[in-house]
Protein backbone atom coordinates (compact mmCIF):
# COMPACT_ATOMS: atom_id res chain seq x y z
CA UNK A 1 0.00 0.00 0.00
CA UNK A 2 2.64 2.48 1.02
CA UNK A 3 4.61 1.92 -2.16
CA UNK A 4 2.52 4.62 -3.83
CA UNK A 5 3.17 7.18 -1.13
CA UNK A 6 6.29 9.22 -1.72
CA UNK A 7 7.92 10.87 1.32
CA UNK A 8 7.72 14.26 -0.46
CA UNK A 9 3.96 14.13 0.14
CA UNK A 10 4.88 14.98 3.74
CA UNK A 11 5.87 18.44 2.54
CA UNK A 12 2.42 19.24 1.12
CA UNK A 13 0.57 19.92 4.41
CA UNK A 14 3.19 22.57 5.25
CA UNK A 15 4.12 23.93 1.82
CA UNK A 16 0.55 24.51 0.58
CA UNK A 17 -0.73 26.76 3.41
CA UNK A 18 2.68 28.49 3.79
CA UNK A 19 2.87 29.26 0.06
CA UNK A 20 -0.73 30.41 -0.10
CA UNK A 21 -0.24 32.55 3.01
CA UNK A 22 2.74 34.34 1.44
CA UNK A 23 0.92 34.77 -1.88
CA UNK A 24 -1.92 36.39 0.04
CA UNK A 25 0.06 39.59 0.50
CA UNK A 26 0.10 40.09 -3.30
CA UNK A 27 -3.62 39.51 -3.77
CA UNK A 28 -6.30 42.14 -3.51
CA UNK A 29 -9.22 39.90 -4.47
CA UNK A 30 -9.87 36.18 -4.21
CA UNK A 31 -8.16 35.71 -0.86
CA UNK A 32 -10.89 33.46 0.54
CA UNK A 33 -10.91 31.40 -2.66
CA UNK A 34 -7.13 30.87 -2.51
CA UNK A 35 -7.45 29.80 1.15
CA UNK A 36 -10.15 27.28 0.35
CA UNK A 37 -8.19 25.86 -2.61
CA UNK A 38 -4.98 25.49 -0.56
CA UNK A 39 -6.96 24.07 2.36
CA UNK A 40 -8.64 21.48 0.17
CA UNK A 41 -5.20 20.55 -1.14
CA UNK A 42 -3.98 19.99 2.42
CA UNK A 43 -7.01 17.84 3.21
CA UNK A 44 -6.41 15.69 0.11
CA UNK A 45 -2.71 15.27 0.96
CA UNK A 46 -3.57 14.30 4.54
CA UNK A 47 -6.20 11.79 3.38
CA UNK A 48 -3.61 10.24 1.02
CA UNK A 49 -1.20 9.99 3.96
CA UNK A 50 -3.85 8.03 5.90
CA UNK A 51 -2.89 5.12 3.63
CA UNK A 52 0.46 4.76 5.40
CA UNK A 53 0.28 1.44 7.28
CA UNK A 54 0.17 1.69 11.06
CA UNK A 55 3.53 1.12 12.68
CA UNK A 56 5.64 2.50 9.85
CA UNK A 57 7.32 5.89 10.09
CA UNK A 58 7.42 7.83 6.86
CA UNK A 59 10.44 10.14 6.87
CA UNK A 60 11.62 13.13 4.86
CA UNK A 61 14.96 14.93 5.11
CA UNK A 62 13.96 18.45 4.08
CA UNK A 63 16.13 19.76 1.21
CA UNK A 64 18.06 16.49 1.15
CA UNK A 65 20.15 17.46 4.20
CA UNK A 66 20.47 14.66 6.74
CA UNK A 67 20.17 15.18 10.50
CA UNK A 68 21.64 16.59 12.74
CA UNK A 69 22.24 19.75 10.65
CA UNK A 70 19.30 19.10 8.33
CA UNK A 71 15.65 19.03 9.25
CA UNK A 72 14.02 15.61 9.49
CA UNK A 73 10.26 15.23 9.31
CA UNK A 74 8.48 12.05 10.16
CA UNK A 75 4.93 10.77 10.18
CA UNK A 76 3.58 8.32 12.72
CA UNK A 77 0.06 7.57 13.90
CA UNK A 78 0.00 10.38 16.48
CA UNK A 79 1.03 12.88 13.80
CA UNK A 80 -1.55 11.65 11.30
CA UNK A 81 -4.39 11.86 13.85
CA UNK A 82 -3.54 15.49 14.62
CA UNK A 83 -2.92 16.37 10.93
CA UNK A 84 -6.32 14.97 9.98
CA UNK A 85 -8.36 16.56 12.76
CA UNK A 86 -6.59 19.90 12.19
CA UNK A 87 -7.34 19.74 8.46
CA UNK A 88 -11.05 19.08 9.06
CA UNK A 89 -11.42 21.84 11.66
CA UNK A 90 -9.32 24.44 9.83
CA UNK A 91 -11.12 23.86 6.54
CA UNK A 92 -14.53 24.11 8.22
CA UNK A 93 -13.47 27.37 9.90
CA UNK A 94 -12.18 28.72 6.56
CA UNK A 95 -15.47 27.84 4.88
CA UNK A 96 -17.41 29.51 7.70
CA UNK A 97 -15.29 32.65 7.39
CA UNK A 98 -15.64 32.71 3.60
CA UNK A 99 -19.43 32.49 3.85
CA UNK A 100 -20.00 34.64 6.92
CA UNK A 101 -17.06 36.80 8.09
CA UNK A 102 -16.54 38.20 4.56
CA UNK A 103 -20.13 39.52 4.63
CA UNK A 104 -20.57 40.54 8.26
CA UNK A 105 -17.13 42.09 8.88
CA UNK A 106 -15.32 42.55 5.54
CA UNK A 107 -12.58 44.77 7.03
CA UNK A 108 -11.59 42.01 9.47
CA UNK A 109 -12.07 39.20 6.95
CA UNK A 110 -9.47 40.74 4.58
CA UNK A 111 -6.73 40.13 7.15
CA UNK A 112 -8.03 36.80 8.45
CA UNK A 113 -6.74 34.53 5.69
CA UNK A 114 -2.97 34.91 6.03
CA UNK A 115 -2.84 34.18 9.80
CA UNK A 116 -5.24 31.25 9.31
CA UNK A 117 -2.91 29.72 6.73
CA UNK A 118 0.21 30.46 8.80
CA UNK A 119 -1.35 28.86 11.89
CA UNK A 120 -2.25 25.83 9.82
CA UNK A 121 1.23 25.53 8.23
CA UNK A 122 2.95 25.95 11.61
CA UNK A 123 0.74 23.31 13.24
CA UNK A 124 1.38 20.80 10.45
CA UNK A 125 5.15 21.44 10.58
CA UNK A 126 5.01 20.96 14.35
CA UNK A 127 3.16 17.65 14.06
CA UNK A 128 5.77 16.39 11.58
CA UNK A 129 8.86 17.56 13.49
CA UNK A 130 10.95 14.89 15.12
CA UNK A 131 13.41 16.95 17.15
CA UNK A 132 13.12 19.37 20.03
CA UNK A 133 14.70 22.34 18.22
CA UNK A 134 12.44 22.14 15.16
CA UNK A 135 9.57 21.94 17.59
CA UNK A 136 10.83 25.21 19.13
CA UNK A 137 10.93 26.95 15.74
CA UNK A 138 7.47 25.70 14.74
CA UNK A 139 6.08 26.76 18.14
CA UNK A 140 7.39 30.29 17.54
CA UNK A 141 5.83 30.40 14.05
CA UNK A 142 2.58 29.21 15.58
CA UNK A 143 2.68 31.83 18.33
CA UNK A 144 3.28 34.73 15.93
CA UNK A 145 0.45 33.62 13.65
CA UNK A 146 -1.85 33.03 16.62
CA UNK A 147 -1.14 36.48 18.06
CA UNK A 148 -2.05 37.92 14.65
CA UNK A 149 -5.46 36.25 14.97
CA UNK A 150 -5.96 37.92 18.36
CA UNK A 151 -5.19 41.40 16.97
CA UNK A 152 -7.69 41.25 14.09
CA UNK A 153 -10.44 43.24 15.83
CA UNK A 154 -8.02 46.19 15.78
CA UNK A 155 -9.09 47.68 19.12
CA UNK A 156 -7.54 48.20 22.53
CA UNK A 157 -8.78 44.99 24.24
CA UNK A 158 -7.52 42.97 21.26
CA UNK A 159 -4.05 44.56 21.36
CA UNK A 160 -3.92 44.17 25.14
CA UNK A 161 -4.89 40.48 24.97
CA UNK A 162 -2.44 39.91 22.12
CA UNK A 163 0.46 41.59 23.98
CA UNK A 164 -0.25 39.60 27.14
CA UNK A 165 -0.28 36.39 25.07
CA UNK A 166 2.93 37.32 23.23
CA UNK A 167 4.84 38.14 26.43
CA UNK A 168 3.82 34.91 28.18
CA UNK A 169 4.70 32.99 25.03
CA UNK A 170 8.08 34.77 24.92
CA UNK A 171 8.87 33.72 28.49
CA UNK A 172 7.60 30.20 27.75
CA UNK A 173 9.69 29.74 24.64
CA UNK A 174 12.85 31.02 26.36
CA UNK A 175 12.34 28.51 29.20
CA UNK A 176 11.71 25.78 26.62
CA UNK A 177 14.86 26.75 24.71
CA UNK A 178 17.00 26.62 27.86
CA UNK A 179 15.57 23.13 28.38
CA UNK A 180 16.58 22.28 24.80
CA UNK A 181 20.14 23.47 25.53
CA UNK A 182 20.40 21.13 28.53
CA UNK A 183 18.68 18.33 26.55
CA UNK A 184 21.26 18.64 23.78
CA UNK A 185 24.30 18.87 26.01
CA UNK A 186 23.21 15.90 28.13
CA UNK A 187 22.08 13.53 25.36
CA UNK A 188 24.21 14.72 22.42
CA UNK A 189 21.14 14.69 20.18
CA UNK A 190 18.02 16.74 19.53
CA UNK A 191 15.95 13.75 18.45
CA UNK A 192 13.08 12.89 20.80
CA UNK A 193 13.34 9.14 20.21
CA UNK A 194 17.14 8.83 20.15
CA UNK A 195 17.32 10.67 23.49
CA UNK A 196 14.84 8.28 25.13
CA UNK A 197 15.69 7.63 28.77
CA UNK A 198 18.66 10.04 28.87
CA UNK A 199 16.83 13.37 29.25
CA UNK A 200 17.99 15.12 32.45
CA UNK A 201 15.20 16.11 34.86
CA UNK A 202 16.20 19.80 34.71
CA UNK A 203 15.75 19.85 30.92
CA UNK A 204 12.42 18.06 31.23
CA UNK A 205 11.20 20.51 33.89
CA UNK A 206 12.25 23.64 31.94
CA UNK A 207 10.71 22.41 28.68
CA UNK A 208 7.51 21.38 30.46
CA UNK A 209 7.02 24.72 32.23
CA UNK A 210 7.70 26.56 28.97
CA UNK A 211 5.16 24.42 27.13
CA UNK A 212 2.59 24.88 29.90
CA UNK A 213 2.89 28.64 29.50
CA UNK A 214 2.45 28.37 25.73
CA UNK A 215 -0.46 25.94 26.03
CA UNK A 216 -2.33 27.84 28.78
CA UNK A 217 -2.09 24.86 31.12
CA UNK A 218 -3.05 25.63 34.73
CA UNK A 219 -1.62 27.53 36.63
CA UNK A 220 -0.15 29.39 33.60
CA UNK A 221 -3.52 29.88 31.89
CA UNK A 222 -4.41 33.47 32.82
CA UNK A 223 -3.54 34.93 29.40
CA UNK A 224 -5.94 32.65 27.50
CA UNK A 225 -9.45 33.99 28.25
CA UNK A 226 -8.83 37.66 27.32
CA UNK A 227 -6.86 36.68 24.19
CA UNK A 228 -9.31 34.04 22.95
CA UNK A 229 -12.34 36.18 23.70
CA UNK A 230 -10.86 39.21 21.91
CA UNK A 231 -10.42 37.46 18.55
CA UNK A 232 -13.20 37.35 15.92
CA UNK A 233 -15.22 34.12 16.22
CA UNK A 234 -13.45 32.05 13.53
CA UNK A 235 -10.11 33.16 15.03
CA UNK A 236 -11.21 32.10 18.53
CA UNK A 237 -12.28 28.76 17.07
CA UNK A 238 -8.77 28.19 15.66
CA UNK A 239 -7.07 29.35 18.87
CA UNK A 240 -9.17 27.30 21.30
CA UNK A 241 -9.63 24.20 19.16
CA UNK A 242 -6.17 23.88 17.60
CA UNK A 243 -3.41 26.25 18.73
CA UNK A 244 -3.40 25.35 22.44
CA UNK A 245 -3.20 21.62 21.58
CA UNK A 246 0.28 22.07 20.10
CA UNK A 247 1.89 22.28 23.54
CA UNK A 248 -0.01 19.16 24.66
CA UNK A 249 1.22 17.34 21.55
CA UNK A 250 4.86 18.09 22.39
CA UNK A 251 4.31 17.20 26.07
CA UNK A 252 2.90 13.82 24.97
CA UNK A 253 5.96 13.07 22.87
CA UNK A 254 8.38 14.40 25.47
CA UNK A 255 6.95 12.55 28.49
CA UNK A 256 5.94 9.30 26.79
CA UNK A 257 8.66 8.90 24.14
CA UNK A 258 11.74 10.59 25.61
CA UNK A 259 11.33 10.59 29.39
CA UNK A 260 9.21 7.62 30.39
CA UNK A 261 10.39 7.31 34.01
CA UNK A 262 9.43 10.34 36.04
CA UNK A 263 6.51 9.31 38.23
CA UNK A 264 6.58 12.31 40.56
CA UNK A 265 6.58 14.73 37.63
CA UNK A 266 3.62 12.92 36.10
CA UNK A 267 1.61 13.20 39.30
CA UNK A 268 2.47 16.90 39.43
CA UNK A 269 1.13 17.30 35.87
CA UNK A 270 -2.03 15.43 36.91
CA UNK A 271 -2.48 17.80 39.85
CA UNK A 272 -2.10 20.82 37.54
CA UNK A 273 -4.76 19.21 35.34
CA UNK A 274 -7.05 18.80 38.34
CA UNK A 275 -6.58 22.45 39.22
CA UNK A 276 -7.40 23.41 35.63
CA UNK A 277 -10.61 21.36 35.59
CA UNK A 278 -11.87 22.82 38.89
CA UNK A 279 -10.72 26.43 38.47
CA UNK A 280 -11.55 26.69 34.75
CA UNK A 281 -15.03 25.20 35.22
CA UNK A 282 -15.85 27.40 38.21
CA UNK A 283 -14.77 30.55 36.34
CA UNK A 284 -16.72 29.40 33.29
CA UNK A 285 -19.80 29.26 35.52
CA UNK A 286 -19.44 32.84 36.71
CA UNK A 287 -18.71 34.64 33.42
CA UNK A 288 -21.29 37.05 32.07
CA UNK A 289 -20.15 36.83 28.43
CA UNK A 290 -20.60 33.78 26.22
CA UNK A 291 -17.12 33.91 24.66
CA UNK A 292 -15.48 34.09 28.09
CA UNK A 293 -17.49 31.04 29.23
CA UNK A 294 -16.14 29.15 26.23
CA UNK A 295 -12.59 30.37 26.85
CA UNK A 296 -12.61 29.27 30.52
CA UNK A 297 -14.15 26.00 29.40
CA UNK A 298 -11.07 25.53 27.21
CA UNK A 299 -8.86 26.06 30.29
CA UNK A 300 -10.85 23.31 32.05
CA UNK A 301 -10.86 20.89 29.14
CA UNK A 302 -7.09 21.25 28.69
CA UNK A 303 -6.83 20.06 32.29
CA UNK A 304 -8.25 16.64 31.40
CA UNK A 305 -5.47 16.21 28.86
CA UNK A 306 -2.87 16.51 31.65
CA UNK A 307 -4.47 13.53 33.43
CA UNK A 308 -3.03 11.33 30.67
CA UNK A 309 0.43 11.64 32.24
CA UNK A 310 -0.23 9.99 35.63
CA UNK A 311 -2.55 7.45 33.99
CA UNK A 312 -0.30 6.33 31.11
CA UNK A 313 1.74 3.84 33.07
CA UNK A 314 2.64 0.19 32.60
CA UNK A 315 -0.08 -1.89 31.02
CA UNK A 316 -2.44 1.09 30.91
CA UNK A 317 -0.21 3.31 28.79
CA UNK A 318 -2.04 2.52 25.54
CA UNK A 319 -5.51 3.03 27.03
CA UNK A 320 -4.69 6.39 28.61
CA UNK A 321 -2.74 7.56 25.53
CA UNK A 322 -5.63 6.74 23.18
CA UNK A 323 -8.10 8.39 25.58
CA UNK A 324 -6.05 11.59 25.84
CA UNK A 325 -5.51 11.92 22.10
CA UNK A 326 -9.19 11.30 21.39
CA UNK A 327 -10.22 13.83 24.02
CA UNK A 328 -8.00 16.43 22.32
CA UNK A 329 -9.59 15.65 18.92
CA UNK A 330 -13.18 15.66 20.23
CA UNK A 331 -12.68 18.86 22.21
CA UNK A 332 -11.20 20.50 19.11
CA UNK A 333 -14.29 19.69 17.05
CA UNK A 334 -16.74 20.67 19.80
CA UNK A 335 -15.01 23.90 20.80
CA UNK A 336 -14.61 25.05 17.18
CA UNK A 337 -18.35 24.46 16.74
CA UNK A 338 -19.15 26.43 19.90
CA UNK A 339 -16.98 29.44 19.03
CA UNK A 340 -18.43 29.59 15.49
CA UNK A 341 -21.91 29.43 17.03
CA UNK A 342 -20.90 32.20 19.45
CA UNK A 343 -19.97 34.31 16.41
CA UNK A 344 -23.45 33.74 15.01
CA UNK A 345 -24.96 34.72 18.38
CA UNK A 346 -22.98 37.99 18.27
CA UNK A 347 -24.25 38.57 14.73
CA UNK A 348 -27.88 37.79 15.60
CA UNK A 349 -28.13 39.73 18.88
CA UNK A 350 -25.34 42.29 18.50
CA UNK A 351 -23.79 41.15 21.83
CA UNK A 352 -22.92 37.95 23.70
CA UNK A 353 -24.22 38.70 27.22
CA UNK A 354 -25.65 35.48 28.61
CA UNK A 355 -28.35 37.24 30.60
CA UNK A 356 -29.84 38.56 27.35
CA UNK A 357 -29.76 35.54 25.05
CA UNK A 358 -33.58 35.23 24.97
CA UNK A 359 -34.99 34.82 21.49
CA UNK A 360 -32.22 32.54 20.22
CA UNK A 361 -34.34 29.38 20.50
CA UNK A 362 -36.97 30.99 18.29
CA UNK A 363 -34.86 32.89 15.77
CA UNK A 364 -31.65 30.82 15.65
CA UNK A 365 -32.63 27.32 16.76
CA UNK A 366 -29.82 25.64 14.80
CA UNK A 367 -27.21 27.74 16.61
CA UNK A 368 -28.64 26.99 20.04
CA UNK A 369 -28.86 23.32 19.08
CA UNK A 370 -25.12 23.46 18.17
CA UNK A 371 -24.29 24.43 21.76
CA UNK A 372 -26.33 21.45 22.96
CA UNK A 373 -24.68 18.91 20.63
CA UNK A 374 -21.17 20.23 21.26
CA UNK A 375 -21.94 20.35 24.98
CA UNK A 376 -22.60 16.60 24.99
CA UNK A 377 -18.92 16.08 24.15
CA UNK A 378 -17.70 18.56 26.79
CA UNK A 379 -19.83 16.81 29.42
CA UNK A 380 -18.60 13.41 28.26
CA UNK A 381 -22.02 11.88 27.68
CA UNK A 382 -22.59 8.99 25.23
CA UNK A 383 -22.37 8.65 22.29
CA UNK A 384 -19.90 11.53 21.92
CA UNK A 385 -16.14 11.43 21.32
CA UNK A 386 -15.70 12.99 24.76
CA UNK A 387 -17.54 10.04 26.32
CA UNK A 388 -15.37 7.38 24.66
CA UNK A 389 -12.20 9.29 25.53
CA UNK A 390 -13.18 9.76 29.18
CA UNK A 391 -14.27 6.13 29.34
CA UNK A 392 -10.76 5.07 28.30
CA UNK A 393 -9.19 7.41 30.87
CA UNK A 394 -11.55 6.09 33.56
CA UNK A 395 -10.67 2.50 32.62
CA UNK A 396 -6.99 3.36 32.98
CA UNK A 397 -7.64 5.10 36.32
CA UNK A 398 -9.47 2.14 37.86
CA UNK A 399 -7.27 -0.45 36.15
CA UNK A 400 -4.07 1.06 37.50
CA UNK A 401 -5.60 1.61 40.94
CA UNK A 402 -5.50 5.44 40.71
CA UNK A 403 -9.19 6.12 41.32
CA UNK A 404 -8.80 9.74 42.60
CA UNK A 405 -8.21 10.87 38.99
CA UNK A 406 -11.57 9.29 38.11
CA UNK A 407 -13.28 11.72 40.50
CA UNK A 408 -11.76 14.64 38.57
CA UNK A 409 -12.98 13.20 35.25
CA UNK A 410 -16.55 12.75 36.49
CA UNK A 411 -16.80 15.93 38.57
CA UNK A 412 -15.55 18.03 35.64
CA UNK A 413 -18.28 16.56 33.44
CA UNK A 414 -20.94 17.70 35.91
CA UNK A 415 -19.54 21.25 35.95
CA UNK A 416 -19.46 21.28 32.13
CA UNK A 417 -23.13 20.24 32.16
CA UNK A 418 -24.00 23.20 34.38
CA UNK A 419 -22.30 25.83 32.22
CA UNK A 420 -23.65 24.31 28.98
CA UNK A 421 -27.23 24.24 30.28
CA UNK A 422 -26.80 27.80 31.51
CA UNK A 423 -26.14 28.90 27.91
CA UNK A 424 -28.95 26.84 26.41
CA UNK A 425 -31.47 27.76 29.12
CA UNK A 426 -30.78 31.46 28.59
CA UNK A 427 -31.72 31.13 24.91
CA UNK A 428 -35.38 30.32 25.52
CA UNK A 429 -38.14 32.88 25.79
CA UNK A 430 -39.12 35.85 23.70
CA UNK A 431 -36.51 38.50 23.07
CA UNK A 432 -35.40 41.08 20.52
CA UNK A 433 -32.92 40.20 17.78
CA UNK A 434 -31.02 42.55 15.48
CA UNK A 435 -31.05 40.36 12.37
CA UNK A 436 -31.67 36.80 11.22
CA UNK A 437 -28.55 34.60 11.20
CA UNK A 438 -27.55 33.21 7.77
CA UNK A 439 -28.39 29.57 7.17
CA UNK A 440 -25.25 27.96 5.67
CA UNK A 441 -22.78 29.09 8.39
CA UNK A 442 -25.15 27.71 11.03
CA UNK A 443 -24.99 24.32 9.35
CA UNK A 444 -21.17 24.40 9.30
CA UNK A 445 -21.04 24.96 13.07
CA UNK A 446 -23.63 22.23 13.59
CA UNK A 447 -21.69 19.84 11.33
CA UNK A 448 -18.55 20.27 13.48
CA UNK A 449 -20.59 19.57 16.62
CA UNK A 450 -22.08 16.55 14.88
CA UNK A 451 -18.59 15.26 14.06
CA UNK A 452 -17.65 15.58 17.75
CA UNK A 453 -20.70 13.43 18.52
CA UNK A 454 -19.84 10.91 15.78
CA UNK A 455 -16.27 10.70 17.10
CA UNK A 456 -17.71 8.43 19.77
CA UNK A 457 -19.53 6.12 17.36
CA UNK A 458 -16.97 5.70 14.61
CA UNK A 459 -13.94 5.59 16.89
CA UNK A 460 -13.16 1.91 17.24
CA UNK A 461 -10.52 1.54 14.54
CA UNK A 462 -8.46 4.67 15.29
CA UNK A 463 -8.65 4.03 19.02
CA UNK A 464 -7.45 0.44 18.72
CA UNK A 465 -4.60 1.62 16.50
CA UNK A 466 -3.70 4.39 18.94
CA UNK A 467 -3.63 1.95 21.85
CA UNK A 468 -1.22 -0.26 19.93
CA UNK A 469 0.93 2.60 18.70
CA UNK A 470 1.39 4.11 22.17
CA UNK A 471 5.06 4.57 23.04
Amino acid sequence: MSAGIAPWLLAAPVALPLGAGLLMTLLVRGRSLLTLVAGTGVLIAVLLLLDVPVGTRLELAVGGWPAPLGIRWHLDLLAIVFLTSTAVIALAVALFAALHLSRSEPAIARHFWAPLLFVWAALNALFLSADVFNLYVTLELLTLAAVMLVTLENNQPAFDGAMRYLLVALAGSTLYLLGVALFYHATGTLDLVLAAGAVPPAALALMTVGLMAKGALFPLHAWLPPAHAAAPAPGSALLSALVVKAAFYILLRLWLESAPNHDAGRILLGLCGTGAVIWGSLLALTQARLKLVLAYSTVAQLGYLLLVFPLAQGAWTGTAFAGGVWLAVSHGLAKAAMFLAAGLVMYTLGHDRIAELRGLARHAPLTLFTFGIAGVTLMGLPPSGGFVAKWLLLTAAFGSGQWPWALVLMGGGLLAAVYTFRIIGAGFGEGPIERKPPRAPQWIALALAGLALLAGVAAELPLLQLQEAAP
Partner: protein
Protein backbone atom coordinates in the same frame (compact mmCIF):
# COMPACT_ATOMS: atom_id res chain seq x y z
CA UNK B 1 42.47 29.78 32.43
CA UNK B 2 42.33 26.08 31.58
CA UNK B 3 40.07 24.42 29.01
CA UNK B 4 37.59 23.34 31.68
CA UNK B 5 36.95 26.74 33.21
CA UNK B 6 36.15 28.56 29.98
CA UNK B 7 32.92 26.68 29.18
CA UNK B 8 31.84 26.93 32.82
CA UNK B 9 32.04 30.71 32.60
CA UNK B 10 29.72 30.61 29.57
CA UNK B 11 27.16 28.46 31.37
CA UNK B 12 27.15 30.37 34.64
CA UNK B 13 27.03 33.76 32.89
CA UNK B 14 24.37 32.50 30.50
CA UNK B 15 22.10 31.25 33.27
CA UNK B 16 22.60 34.46 35.27
CA UNK B 17 21.66 36.61 32.24
CA UNK B 18 18.68 34.35 31.56
CA UNK B 19 17.37 34.66 35.14
CA UNK B 20 17.96 38.43 35.20
CA UNK B 21 16.02 38.83 31.94
CA UNK B 22 13.19 36.56 33.03
CA UNK B 23 12.82 38.44 36.32
CA UNK B 24 12.66 41.80 34.57
CA UNK B 25 10.18 40.44 32.01
CA UNK B 26 7.69 39.92 34.85
CA UNK B 27 8.71 42.71 37.22
CA UNK B 28 8.98 45.72 34.90
CA UNK B 29 5.62 47.28 33.99
CA UNK B 30 6.78 49.25 30.92
CA UNK B 31 6.29 47.09 27.83
CA UNK B 32 9.54 48.23 26.19
CA UNK B 33 11.40 47.09 29.32
CA UNK B 34 9.61 43.74 29.08
CA UNK B 35 10.62 43.38 25.45
CA UNK B 36 14.29 44.13 26.10
CA UNK B 37 14.21 41.79 29.11
CA UNK B 38 12.86 38.98 26.94
CA UNK B 39 15.72 39.52 24.49
CA UNK B 40 18.24 39.53 27.33
CA UNK B 41 16.88 36.20 28.62
CA UNK B 42 17.14 34.69 25.14
CA UNK B 43 20.78 35.88 24.83
CA UNK B 44 21.56 34.09 28.06
CA UNK B 45 20.13 30.88 26.64
CA UNK B 46 22.23 31.29 23.48
CA UNK B 47 25.37 31.43 25.63
CA UNK B 48 24.39 28.16 27.31
CA UNK B 49 23.73 26.49 23.93
CA UNK B 50 27.03 27.67 22.47
CA UNK B 51 29.01 25.94 25.24
CA UNK B 52 30.92 22.94 23.88
CA UNK B 53 31.58 20.33 26.56
CA UNK B 54 35.29 19.54 26.09
CA UNK B 55 36.33 23.08 25.41
CA UNK B 56 37.59 21.61 22.15
CA UNK B 57 36.55 22.45 18.58
CA UNK B 58 33.28 24.37 18.28
CA UNK B 59 30.15 22.28 17.72
CA UNK B 60 28.56 23.16 14.33
CA UNK B 61 25.12 21.98 15.49
CA UNK B 62 25.21 24.28 18.51
CA UNK B 63 26.26 27.18 16.27
CA UNK B 64 23.41 26.46 13.87
CA UNK B 65 20.98 26.41 16.80
CA UNK B 66 22.19 29.77 18.10
CA UNK B 67 21.99 31.36 14.63
CA UNK B 68 18.45 30.06 14.11
CA UNK B 69 17.54 31.16 17.61
CA UNK B 70 18.78 34.71 16.89
CA UNK B 71 16.72 34.85 13.69
CA UNK B 72 13.61 33.73 15.57
CA UNK B 73 14.34 36.22 18.33
CA UNK B 74 14.71 39.11 15.85
CA UNK B 75 11.39 38.21 14.20
CA UNK B 76 9.53 38.00 17.50
CA UNK B 77 11.07 41.28 18.72
CA UNK B 78 10.13 43.11 15.52
CA UNK B 79 6.56 41.84 15.78
CA UNK B 80 6.30 42.68 19.49
CA UNK B 81 7.64 46.20 18.85
CA UNK B 82 5.03 46.77 16.14
CA UNK B 83 2.29 45.48 18.43
CA UNK B 84 3.56 47.71 21.23
CA UNK B 85 3.33 50.75 18.94
CA UNK B 86 -0.27 49.91 18.00
CA UNK B 87 -1.21 49.29 21.63
CA UNK B 88 0.20 52.64 22.66
CA UNK B 89 -1.69 54.35 19.83
CA UNK B 90 -5.03 52.87 20.93
CA UNK B 91 -4.69 52.97 24.71
CA UNK B 92 -2.40 55.98 25.02
CA UNK B 93 0.06 54.24 27.34
CA UNK B 94 2.77 51.59 26.97
CA UNK B 95 1.42 49.37 29.77
CA UNK B 96 -0.94 46.40 30.02
CA UNK B 97 -4.39 46.90 31.54
CA UNK B 98 -4.99 45.22 34.87
CA UNK B 99 -7.77 42.66 35.27
CA UNK B 100 -8.88 42.36 31.67
CA UNK B 101 -11.95 40.25 32.64
CA UNK B 102 -13.61 42.95 34.67
Amino acid sequence: MTGVEVPLIYVVTGIFIFLRGLYALFARPHLLHKLVAGNLAASGVFLVIAWSPQGGPPDPVAQALVLTGIVVSVAVTAYAAALLARLEQTSGKPYLEHDPDR
